[in-house]
Symmetry: C2
Subunit: 232 residues, 2 copies
């Protein structure tokens, strides 16, 4: 039993209508592609103005629950759990703590996804990763220019998410990218010479080619040591 009495939360009419529409959709087992009752009908049944209904639908559209088609009205969409995050994932808008959490999340995901990579890797993925690594090795700017180095870093690691075969994971990381990028820049500015782990991108590709999920997981953990060692 909870020991604290919960405060009464003031909920706006728009939020209540949003909630009621969501419940209505669930109770009636609406599926993606089904068309929604019209604004007028909803407003009448809910006993609220059309403006309120319109605003609630706008919020549900933003959550990816419904979508509107021109001259055809509103339809149930395949909900998109990540649509809201995308808009605000900006280092300028996030606080320091949120940024730190997101950066840690990156480390957790990359160590944890080894298994998915080994289940779904294709020969063409290895070829593509090797191509990135070779380009990185032969680019003279990599030694001197931080931005160039970060760009290869991001290209390599982003490809791994893509390989995971998990669209949600892949989109999640593409949203987190601005934060990763910002944090890596901060880290690099702080250190005289940016540290590298003992395991290189090239080693990781070799492990994907001939190693096991277990070996890749530990190699990735070592590759990320410069980041892990900063956590407390």
């Amino acid at each position: 039993m909870s020991s604290k009495i919960k405060p009464i939360k003031s909920v706006s009419l728009v939020e209540q209508v949003e909630q009621r529409i969501l419940e209505f959709l669930k109770e009636n087992r609406f599926k993606s592609g089904d068309s929604l009752p019209g604004e007028i009908e909803l407003a009448e049944n809910l006993g609220v103005s059309r403006n309120i209904v319109r605003e609630s639908l706008s919020r549900l559209r933003m959550l990816g629950v419904v979508e509107s088609k021109k001259r055809k009205g509103m339809f149930i969409a395949e909900p998109d759990i990540l649509s809201g995050i995308e808009r605000i994932m900006d280092p300028d808008l996030l606080g320091e703590e949120a940024m730190q959490h997101i950066f840690e999340l990156r480390l957790v995901l990359e160590v944890g996804m080894s298994e998915l990579l080994f289940i779904r890797k294709k020969d063409s993925d290895i070829v593509k990763l090797q191509e990135i690594v070779d380009r990185e090795a032969n680019d003279p700017l990599c030694k001197t220019d931080l931005q160039t180095r970060l760009a290869y870093e991001i290209e390599f690691h982003s490809y791994l998410y893509k390989m995971s075969g998990n669209g949600t994971l892949n989109r999640f990381q593409s949203m987190l990218l601005p934060v990763f990028h910002f944090m890596m820049q901060q880290e690099s500015k702080a250190a005289a010479e940016p540290k590298r782990g003992s395991i290189s991108h090239n080693d990781l590709v070799e492990t994907l080619r001939n190693g096991t999920a277990y070996e890749f997981r530990e190699n990735m953990r070592n590759h990320l040591t410069p980041h892990f060692s900063k956590l407390s």
Copy 2:
């Protein structure tokens, strides 16, 4: 260079206003706690109706970018990257593919977060986990009742997220819980006898107590084998 020409995306006035307000906040380096210009002022400057501004602000409030205080107007909130997800994380609303992705995400996170656990574990955490494990071992219903077993399963694993010391990770998992729960029920129904990995919850606590992050990661991987073995 992209090889495909991008389709023109129709953007509603509300969405345009939302975007402009977001840009305005970033450009002027608004920080959480700052108060926002009033609706009338925004409407005048943007050259749109107050209704449009109100609807845009409602969407930004839903994203957690702004918050309204009674009789004090709108303020910049600490943005909450997870607020939108929470509302739609419902097995009834998600498609099968999204559910599968989220379930995989759980496996990735739990294997990957070992390092955070070892950096942040406290003696009291181990005591708490041992208490859950003991309760589970002594509960006769565990052998016969699926719901009881799932409840312990979820209590144990949820506590690990809490221990990670990463609030974003912890809240993320509490949102994903309904999906985890649904998927585990489906799995259990499919199998005559629900499988367990060779590593028990008790083994995991013992590893947290006396082992290393490396050992915990591999033990967690083994603990989750029944789930991993279903992936393709």
